[in-house]
Structure formats: C-alpha cells, structure tokens
Amino acid sequence: MMGINRRQFTLLLGCGLVSPNLLAKPQQLLFASAAQTSPEGYALKVISKQGRSLINHQLPARAHHVAKHPHQPFLAAVGRRPETFIDVINYETGLLSKRIESSPGQHFYGHAIYSNDGRWLITTENEIQSGQGLIVIRDCANDYRVIKQFSSYGIGPHELKLTANGKTLVVANGGILTNPGQGREKLNLDSMQPSLAYIDLHSGLLTEQIFMPAQLHQLSIRHFDINDRGRVVIALQYQGAKSDDVPLIAFHSSGDKNLSLVKAPAAINLAMKQYCGSARFDHSGTTAAVSSPRGNLVTFWNAQDGSFLTALKSRDGCGLTATHEPDEFLISTGRGHCYRFNAKTGLKEKLPLGLSSQTAWDNHLTLI
C-alpha cells in the first residue's frame, strides 16, 4: 500500500513540489535499467511493481549497467564504453546527485559496483594510451574523489563483482583492445587473452587469474555473476569464425585450475549465435540464467554441476536479475518488454509496462 490517502495526494499535488510519480515508497520499486527511449535519446528508468515508469532520467549518452547502493537510495548508471560519465541518481527524489567524469586519458566500460559497506564506488576503466585495464576506486563520502587505481591484470576489463565477504574483487578481462579514436573497433582479435582475475580489494594485488585455454582465446569473458559460495557463472562472447560451434557458458570457483566450459544441447548452443549478454544467479544461488539476445533465448543452468536445465524464448532478451523468490528471474528485452520467469515451474508472466515501442532496455537490469 502506498500509505497515503486521496486527500493527502491532492494536497501534495497542489504543492507542485512533488511529482506524483515519486509518491511511491521505495519498497514499491521493482527495477532500474538503462534504456534507449528514442532514436537518439537515452535514459535511466526506474519501474515500480505496478509497472509504472517512476523515474526517467535523461542520460548524456547510452549507458550499460546500473549499480545500486547497498543501503542509501542511490543508483549509478555507467556510460557504455567508450563513454566517460556515470550519473548517480537519488531514486527517492529522482534527482541527479552527481555526474562523475572519468579521469583524463581514461574511459569507463559500462560497469561499476559499490563496496559492500557502501563507501566506495569501484569501476573498470581503460587507460587509453597503454590500452591496459584499470580498476578505479572512488570515495562516495567525499564527492566520488578517486582514492586509488590499480591494474585489472588484462585488456578490456568489463563486469566486476565482489565476493560475499567484500574483500576480493573478481574482474572479467574481456581481452579485446579498443581505442576511442577508432570507435568500438576491435584491434587485437588475433592475440586476445581473456581472463578472470581475482584481486585483493585492499592491496590491489592479484591473488588468482584464470585464462581461457589457448584454442579458445577468442572466447571473450565479459559478463558474469558470483553467488554467496563464490561460484562464478560466465556469459561468453565468441570472436572467431561464425561457423564455429564453441561453448558459451563457463563456471569457476576460486581454487579451480581451469574454467569449466559448458555447452547447451547442440541445437540450442547453435541457436545462441556465439553470443551471451548477461549472467545472473537466482536468489538462492543454485540456478544460473544466461541471456543470448542474438539467439532470442535465455538458458538456465545448475550452478553446482553446470548442467543445462531449460531454455526460454525471449526476443532480444538480455537484462537479467534475480527476484527474491528462488529460481525466479526478471528478464528485460531490447523490445522494451520485461518478463518474470521461474526456471523450475516454467511460469512466465509479462509485466504490464505500457512503454512506447521505441523503448529498448539495455543489457542489464538491477533489482531495487
């Protein structure tokens, strides 16, 4: 319930200070995501449980992932590579709290996370001149001043996560070299070396690094998730010949010497078109979902043994997030739709969003 009656509502409206969209309390919010809202327009949107668009914050350019602060009402929408902005929004007021610019000579890769205590904002960035990946730590309590930066131990770092205790940073080094001077062109496909790096957050030292085997070095490690037990599920993207049939999902646990590469059943693996866009564990951490927007599919996996569970058709579906129910996910699509799906029961529900057909949800969505 909104906890507000009609008269109060009218009064508030009369004040002209509060937008009716913002009257909903925080617990009624459902998710946040970056979106394209018109051919040239990009926004950070916040959607309520009733499917209403509560916040539509215009962004300077296309964003990618949205990080949620662990206990304050902040969302950080990160510019997609090679953008140089992060917009931090207060989702209770809908106002821009801070626009962060990357340091000169650096740009963002579209991903950021807050530290478990909410003090630091941690990003993956490109040091443009050297092409080396960076991890940059900013102080949320001090106007997002950069307090430290260190190597990501690879080229093209992308998604990053913290282990449950908040001490180890896990980073996907996609391996692909790009330079803003040449747009998004991939410059090193013959020599790329994707890796998953485990880095001590405090010291910035590498504690463990797993590389893709040499014969699959064009299999980019870009997106992943980690559960409370430290199990990692990776959504892979292949840069080799279109006719190759390669595994597109990998699992890893700290201490394992190799990645555990897995393939969906033959027809599904082919249908995934060598490209996975996002990976998320469910709330219980036992089921993993991986989206394949080029194949219009989302596949579901057993987190422990890496076995294939099921697949769901989802046109241009990419964004994934776990709801608070076990085995249940939200899936957002490039067609502006959002679905709730339970991988065990097979129940699927389309959320009534009623957005313009020009709205396209970007790669990732974040539960609030």
Partner: protein, 363 residues
Amino acid sequence: MSLRISTSSKYAIFISLALAAVNVKAEISQTQWMKLNQASINEHILPGYQKLASTSEALEQATADLCQNLTDTHLKQTQSRFNDMLNAWQGIQHVQFGPIELLMRSYTIQFWPDKKNLTSKQLNTVLNNAEPATLTPDYFQTASIAVKGLPAMERILFAEQPLQALKQQTFRCDFLHAISSHLEMQTQNTLNEWKLYKKEFEYTSSEEGAYESAQEATIDLMKAQVEPLEVIRDLKLLRPLGKTDKAKPRRLENWRSRNSLLNIQTNIKSLHHQFSGAKDYSLFALLSDHGAIDLAEGIEQQFVALEALLAQVPAPLSQHINEPNVREQLLLITQGISLLHKSLDKSMSTLELQLGFNSRDGD
C-alpha cells in the same frame, strides 16, 4: 533511368533521396503487419525456397548424369545447373531466420568467406583418402560444413582441368554427387518446413507461438530486408577491394565460377523485390499508406539506381577489379549501398520498428 548519367549526378541522386522528409500518419495495426508478413512470405520467401529446392534437384540430376558420362557436354551442363542453384541461393540468402537456421543449413549451403581456406584443405583430405564411408548420408550429417556445400562443389566443377581430374578419380565425381544429394535434401527440407513455419505468421497475437505479435514477426522479415546490405558491401565488395589500391580478386565470392558480380546483382534485385515486388502488400505499400510516400519512392529509386550501376560493371569481376575505373565504380556502389541502408533504417524508425538493440550492438 539512363545508364549514361555522370558519376557525380548519380551520387547526388543517392544523397537527396536519403534525406526525404517523413511524416507518419497513423499507428499501424497488427492486422496490417500480418498482411505485410503474409505477402512477403507467399510472394517472396516461399518462391525463393521453391527455386532453391528445384535448382538443387536439377543440379543433383546433372551431377548423377555427369558421373555416368564424363564428357565435356555433361560437365558444361552440370556447371550451368551449379550456376542456377548458386543464383537461387543468392536470391534467398538474406533470409536468415526460420528453418534455414536449423542444423547450420545456411553455412552448410555456403561456407563463405573462408578466410583460412578450410574448404580446399578439408576437401583435399577427403578426396585423397577416398573413403567409401564419406559418400554416405551419415557422414554428411556430421561432416565439416567446409566440405558439404556449394564452395566445395565449385572447387571440383571449376578446377583448372575439371574433366581430366574427374576422369582420373571416379571417387571425385562420386563425392561431388554426394554433396549435391545432401544439398538437395537440405533445401527440400527447408522448403517443407517453411510451409509449416508459415503458420506462425497467420495470427495477430499469440502467447505460445513463435512470435508474440504480428509486428514482432515483421521484425524478422525486416532484418532480412535491411541487414544483408552491410554484408554485401563489406564482405562482397570492400574486402576484395582492399584498403590500398591493390585489389584481391580471390577474396571475391565465387570467383572460380565467375559469379561474383552476378551474385551481388541478384542480392540487390532480391532485396528490391522484397521491398516492393509483392503484389498483395509490401514495405513500399505500407510506407506509402502511412504518409511516408517520399521515403518509399526514394528507396525504390535507390534500388533502381543501384541496379543500373551494377549493370555497368564488367564481368567477370575477378579480371576487372584491378582496373582503376572499375574500382571507382565499385566504390560508388558501396556508397550507394550505404545510403540505401540509411534510408531503410530511416523507414524502420519511421514505422517504429526496432530491429534489435542488445542483439545488434550489445557489449
């Protein structure tokens, strides 16, 4: 359109048409999307697969005859049937959804570009080993795509002394025939499955079908209309042209059978047909019905102009691609393709069709 207009005025035509003003009137109903889908399928896609299946049947027949009679006449006949099937494929290659996606059929029919020259390497291995088992359907089910499609047949049929090589090794012709039989089966199955898949386009909305709405189904059709243009420009023209002035003729598609130019002409002609050729309804008609008649006619004229430009290019392209004036013509064609692509993109945004967001340009 005159074929003799100057280069600069032709260029001006492309430019001006891409900028046509648009003002869309009303929202398009699911029934209209369905009408567009059905017309495209009945008048464009199904005839395309029908032609692919019948030409591959004729090619299979010709290879069977050739293996019985290794004569120059039979070779020429088979080469001609090969050209027919290749041409049919070039006319329907742009459709990359539906049954053609199954079992990697599309790559099976034509694995190209073959940057590592896998077709030659793997075909030579198969021919040298001459294992009878490699002639069976079981082998073809799991065989590498590099040895079971049109490029492998082309290497045998358009080798330097094809007849001599076929006479020296009967297995060579048997394998040629085996590829042809496999292609016949795959193209026939594709056609049969499309006759069923067609039903997915016969409703305006569905919970359980392949598409949630008719408009969603239109998106698959429109991808076939718009996206191949980049492939034609980048792989079939710019890659062989190379970045410097020195072209690489062997990067041309089907240079051995001298079909490189005809392939591109057929691709454009077929996309043109998809755009405005169906009698019942078409993208041209839909745009016109919704106030974007200038854009519709602009695109139509861009197709006509591109076809006229392509008609002036001398064949075989592999022999002429290094001539400076041919290079200039081809570069002009690539610009024309880019502008046509831009106009089609504009028609998509005019109709509020999002062809793909994460699938097209994810990260």
